[in-house]
């Protein structure tokens, strides 16, 4: 089985490539990248002239909802959404039912993914049993079963002693602990960001300090334990500053940011549209600017979507009572290309790095480059493709997005996993 992707602009920052070249795939792996490659006669060819050929994009923060919440999303629907959105791999969070806090659930997710998954699926195990923040989950067995990180995402482990122990205990497995940094006392379940908009709307607000306090605590614990701490969905100017300072000190801390925290502020909540409700909440203008700056300068290592599908009935009611979370897999790449790369806020190779090599390195995943011998996970972009966000057309079962009706130019064109086309 071999395939030639001919004549595309190959952007592989990890391999130092940005040139029009061919990519020759054999037996599911990258065989050769170069100009004018001549595979044997009869090799299937994809004409990628005018397109951009990148290492497969990896989204390390996704909620696939299976097992337990199949009415929101399944491994089948979620991975199809990923493929359509240009992602060749996703890491899925542990807040399923039952919670992925033991080997049996990890095994189940991996088995389902093998049968039904359109893209690679890497489970993230829970830090504490049933996400209760009281007792460690069986981290060793979960790591052995294939968990690539540990996180109680959706909740914060409020007990600092327990979190310290989790960081220490996870050290031998060489995987990061991912922090959903939100002091829930300080945040007191505020429905949105605390600021002028929450004051006008009369919605209870959670201050940026609820995130900053926890990022500071977790950095201090990472310093104490030597663990690799990864900050999920960073969203405040203060948290960005803390991560930047910690990195400068040599602390093993990394961070991700979502497209919505890069592109929207709390102003959009004025409509009381619960498609603008998620955790952490949409922040102020200065926070957005700080996140963008940090993504450009590398303080933030990767973009992750926090794809969090819900049923319509869980989102359509009163803002304060609506579920937290929006979908992101099918909108992330088009939005980033149009809103960041086209206006020159971020150059294309940097974006590709933040979507491929960045997340791969962070979770020690294969992928992130088109080096010969690597699995042929490839995302091909069409920078001229215009689009309109239409939730009804999503492959995801989730429909909640604050970006409905947005238009732009530049989108994923083809996604290949192990040399096989998974989208379109």
């Amino acid at each position: 089985m071999s395939l030639l992707i001919r004549g595309g602009r190959v952007v592989d920052p990890a391999g130092g490539t940005d040139a029009v070249q061919d990519v020759w795939i054999a037996d599911g792996r990258i065989h050769k990248v170069g100009k004018g490659l001549k595979p044997p006669a009869g090799t299937e060819t994809v004409d990628a002239t005018g397109k951009v050929v990148c290492p497969g994009f990896i989204d390390i923060h996704v909620h696939l909802r299976e097992p337990g919440f199949e009415y929101k999303e399944t491994i089948a629907s979620g991975t199809r959404a990923a493929a359509a959105g240009g992602f060749t791999a996703v890491a899925c969070m542990a807040n399923t039912f039952p919670v992925n806090d033991n080997r049996a659930v990890t095994d189940y997710i991996l088995a389902r993914a093998k049968v039904e998954g359109a893209v690679r699926v890497y489970p993230i195990g829970a830090v504490t049993r049933n996400l209760e923040g009281k007792q460690l989950a069986e981290l060793a067995e979960q790591a052995e079963a294939g968990c690539v990180a540990f996180s109680d995402d959706g909740k914060c482990v409020m007990n600092a002693e327990l979190y310290r122990r989790a960081m220490e205990y996870a050290l031998p497995f060489g995987v990061p602990v991912i922090s959903h940094a939100e002091d829930c006392d300080l945040g007191h379940r505020g429905a949105m960001h605390e600021g002028f908009v929450s004051t006008e709307l009369g919605l209870s607000g959670q201050p940026a300090a609820a995130e900053d306090v926890m990022v500071a605590r977790d950095i201090i614990l990472a310093e104490l334990t030597g663990a690799h701490l990864h900050i999920a969905h960073i969203s405040t100017v203060g948290a960005v500053r803390l991560v930047r300072d910690a990195k400068a000190r040599g602390v093993r801390v990394t961070a991700e940011v979502t497209p919505h925290h890069l592109l929207l502020t709390d102003e959009v909540v004025r409509s009381y549209d619960s498609n603008c409700k998620m955790a952490p909440p949409l922040r102020g203008k200065r926070d957005v600017e700080a996140c963008l700056e940090a993504l450009v300068d590398g303080t933030i290592d990767c973009v992750a979507t926090d794809h969090a599908p819900h049923a319509l009935s869980e989102k359509e009611g009163e803002f304060a009572e609506a579920a937290n979370g929006i979908v992101g897999l099918e909108t992330a790449v088009p939005l980033l290309l149009d809103r960041l790369v086209r206006p020159g806020v971020l150059d294309l190779p940097t974006l590709v790095t933040r979507l491929s090599a960045g997340p791969a390195r962070l979770l020690n995943l294969p992928g992130g480059s088109l080096a010969p011998g690597a699995a042929a996970d490839i995302t091909i972009l069409d920078l001229e493709q215009s689009w309109t966000v239409d939730p009804a057309a999503f492959r995801s079962r989730g429909r909640s997005t604050p970006f409905a009706g947005f238009t732009g130019v530049g989108a994923p064109w083809m996604t290949l996993v192990g040399g096989l086309k998974v989208a379109p």
């Binding site: 007191h188 605390e194 004051t199 009369g202 919605l203 009381y272 359509e316 009163e318 803002f319």
Partner: protein, 308 residues
């Protein structure tokens, strides 16, 4: 006057001309209350639904009387607790009510934004009778009516709103409405009960009661919810009352013609000393009377000015 809105959701949406329009209409409605037979046929054949998700006696009664004096059929629909607890979603309830073809739905809900949600989905008019800590526009209108009646004008006055600004929809509606009418608004309370970036609403913020009320033409005292101790907003009712409660002694340094207002129900002895509530400064019962007039005006403008 021209009223073009389908709904009345908040004072933030209205401009000064619209506010004056409501106040003038309300002033003419007030005359009906003095009649022997308190009924005019203006809204005969119209249906008004009071959809109250939060318990409220005076606001619901006020809307009910307003509708009845205008000869509308008024139906009270009390839905206690949140829609989620009740099992039927707010939108489903709304669609069911819509199917009964009301002309106006008056809604009170603990969730900010709930009336806006209904207004987007219902063809009939929606009046916000209080949504969470967001807005309570008819309260602001009756406050403005009362002030205009007593002072003869609105522009140039100083109004001080005292108490729990953070959780108060009355404060927000008053602030928007008063500023549009040229009133200078000061809010005063302990910093824990002043919301984030409150000054950006266009008000002065004070943390000292005596200073905040010294030059006020009107003082609006807000009701303090007893559960505020639990959130750590105040240490005790006793201390709150001593520092932020209005007593005759504190009024000594105020303007002699100052008006004391309160949206009710009053916690006597907490935010208002009983002798202040019953004093000549107090116009609390005028507010209640004007509430009916303002709601008649609003119902008339939403249901009656459309050609039937």
């Amino acid at each position: 006057m021209s009223w073009k809105r389908k709904d009345l959701l908040g004072m933030q949406d209205l401009d000064a001309a619209e506010i004056i329009g409501v106040l003038d209409t309300a002033a003419s409605m007030k005359e009906i209350a003095a009649r022997e037979i308190k009924k005019v046929p203006t809204l005969r054949g119209k249906t008004i639904v009071n959809l109250f998700y939060e318990s409220s006696t005076r606001t619901r009664t006020s809307f009910e009387i307003a509708g009845k004096w205008l000869s509308a059929d008024v139906i009270n629909f009390s839905a206690s607790g949140s829609s989620a607890e009740k099992g039927e979603s707010l939108l489903d309830t709304a669609r069911n009510i819509e199917a009964m073809s009301p002309d106006v739905v008056v809604v009170r809900h603990k969730a900010a934004g709930a009336p806006a949600l209904l207004a987007r989905h219902l063809r009939c008019g929606v009046v916000n009778a209080g949504d969470g800590a967001h807005e309570h526009p008819t309260q602001a209108l009756l406050d403005l009516m009362t002030i205009r009646e007593k002072k003869g004008h609105l522009e140039g006055l100083n109004v001080t709103i005292v108490g729990d600004i953070t959780h108060s929809r009355v404060a927000r509606s008053d602030i928007h409405g008063m500023r549009k009418m040229g009133i200078t608004v000061t809010v005063a309370g302990p910093p824990t009960l002043i919301p984030a970036q409150c000054q950006e609403l266009g008000v002065k913020v004070s943390h000292r009661l005596e200073e905040a009320i010294a030059h006020a033409d009107v003082i609006v005292m807000l009701r303090l919810q007893h559960e505020r101790m639990q959130g750590g907003f105040i240490p005790s009712l006793r201390e709150y009352s001593r520092v932020w409660g209005l007593s005759l002694a504190k009024l000594e340094h105020c303007r002699p013609d100052v008006l004391i207002m309160h949206p009710g129900p009053v916690n006597r002895g907490v935010e208002l000393a009983p002798e202040v509530a019953d004093s000549a400064y107090s116009v609390i019962l005028d507010q209640v009377a004007n509430g009916v007039a303002v709601r008649m005006a609003v119902l008339y403008m939403l249901a009656g000015s459309k050609s039937a």
